[in-house]
């Protein structure tokens, strides 16, 4: 046990004295999580609405695909983007590899399945008559969508929390695409990997503590929602 106490003894002062390196990493992580979730919401919510409300052919197949996309390993998404963005590749001219921008892009793509699949699931779980009645009373597409979002808001917020949690804890895509460069594009999770690799266990412990505190805050939010939304159960894909 001595080792753990030793490392904790060195880690806690770093947190309480606001070690500037640590503060930078926290700030970048929060930025990535918030921006990626917001972008994923902008792109994903209309798709989720279409999947849940639309009445078109192939809808079931698309829903199954959306669910399956939650199972994509982030490291594979990272590899795919790396191949796409590497200098000789079709999108190589964008010069994205090993930059901060690519971290935002990767996390947005990884957050997208959560927004699409979970918001669609939340809307589909609404009382079956509700939306049919609204349609019957002459509600247009936009009105039905707004009604569905308002009624399923707890599930939709839970989906956003899940997306936030993923972007906070994900490691593989961030490290692979961003290059895990110290003082530049590290998130809390990828910085942990980096510090352990260098044998700086106290730093890794400090970062790990901050990460788990952030996750706990999110989980509390989710817990409160669950009490309200009875039966909605969600979880994060945490990442690597």
């Amino acid at each position: 046990m001595r080792l753990i106490w030793d490392e904790l003894g060195k880690a806690l002062p770093m947190i309480f004295h606001g070690n500037p390196q640590l503060l930078d990493v926290i700030w970048f992580t929060v930025q990535v999580a918030v921006v990626a979730t917001a972008a994923a919401t902008l792109i994903g919510l209309p798709i989720g609405l279409a999947l849940a409300l639309g009445r078109f052919r192939g809808r079931n197949l698309l829903r199954a695909l959306a669910n399956a996309s939650l199972a994509l390993p982030p490291v594979l998404v990272g590899v795919f983007l790396f191949i796409l963005f590497s200098p000789a590749a079709p999108l190589g001219f964008l010069h994205l590899i090993w930059t901060r921008r690519v971290v935002f892009i990767a996390q947005t793509i990884l957050a997208l399945p959560f927004v699409v699949a979970l918001s669609a699931a939340a809307i589909q779980a609404l009382a079956p008559g509700l939306l049919a009645q609204a349609r019957l009373l002459g509600a247009g597409r936009l009105q039905v969508s707004m009604l569905a979002l308002r009624e399923a808001r707890i599930g939709v917020i839970a989906a956003l929390i899940a997306a936030l949690g993923t972007s906070l804890a994900e490691v593989a895509a961030v490290a692979l695409l961003g290059g895990n460069i110290y003082g530049y594009d590290q998130t809390l999770a990828s910085a942990t990997l980096y510090e352990v690799g260098g044998g700086y266990y106290a730093d890794a412990v400090a970062i790990g503590i901050v990460l788990i505190v952030l996750i706990l805050i999110l989980m509390c939010g989710l817990g409160v929602l669950q009490q309200q939304g009875n039966g909605i159960r969600m979880r994060f894909r945490s990442a690597a």
Binding site: P73, V75, L211, R237
Partner: protein, 240 residues
């Protein structure tokens, strides 16, 4: 597109001819997934059954805790396990730091929440009268557990698949605890992190990605088939 084609052309022969490095990675990955999922079942099934069937005070709180544990960031689990296993740590006498055994331990801990949290979810999804009736007819604890597991088997299989998927695609804890030693305790996913960090254009990296993708597709396919049958159970991997 030419570039992507080049990548494929280098990778396919490696897979087709069963390159020993890639076969080795596949073997380690499958072993890690199967061993840690089996261990998680052994430890987690009694806990999950107690949460699903037990009638004791604090059960709801424990269940929320179990659900929350699905959000544990793998890097945090990794650093905690590593600190226990390092020479001066509490379990340092085992001398298994940076080895496959350490990877088994970390992955078992990460697979455990799937078994513990999803078992009660599957059992609670059973028709409410079923277990009450069995109790009224005098079924003992063991008989009741057997009945619940048999009736909730689709949900249970889905939980096992989710645990397998998580252990296959997880990267953070594997790298931290195992040290990612080539040909020793590298998995497909953790090898990808290494390959793309240092030698971006190796055909090996693309080949490994293809094998991992195939493995995940098989699991996701199984999960989708199950989901179609059980309407409403929604599972996903924590990929890492």
């Amino acid at each position: 597109m030419h570039y992507l084609w080049e990548q494929m052309r280098g990778a396919i022969p490696l897979i087709a001819h069963g390159d020993p490095y890639i076969v080795g990675l596949l073997w380690v990955t499958i072993r890690v997934a199967v061993v840690s999922t089996a261990a998680a079942l052994l430890i987690g099934l009694p806990l999950g059954l107690a949460l699903g069937l037990g009638r004791f005070r604090g059960r709801r709180a424990l269940q929320i805790l179990a659900n929350a544990s699905l959000a544990l960031p793998p890097v945090v689990v990794g650093i905690a396990v590593l600190l226990l296993l390092l020479p001066h740590g509490a379990l340092g006498s085992l001398q298994i730091e940076f080895s496959l055994n350490a990877v088994y331990i970390a992955q078992t801990i990460l697979a455990l929440p799937y078994v513990v949290a999803l078992t009660p979810a599957a059992i609670q999804g059973l028709p409410p009268g079923l277990l009450v009736q069995a109790r009224a007819l005098g079924a003992g604890r063991l008989q009741l557990s057997g009945l619940a597991l048999r009736e909730a088997k689709i949900g249970m299989i889905a939980a096992v698949i989710a645990a397998l998927g998580a252990t296959i695609s997880e990267v953070g804890a594997v790298v931290i605890v195992g040290g990612n030693f080539q040909g020793h305790d590298e998995t497909l996913a953790s090898a990808l992190l290494e390959q793309f960090n240092y030698t971006a254009h190796e055909p090996y990296a693309t080949a490994i990605a293809l094998v991992l993708l195939a493995l995940i597709l098989v699991l996701a396919g199984l999960l989708t088939v199950l989901q179609q049958r059980t309407q409403g159970i929604q599972l996903r991997f924590r990929a890492a």
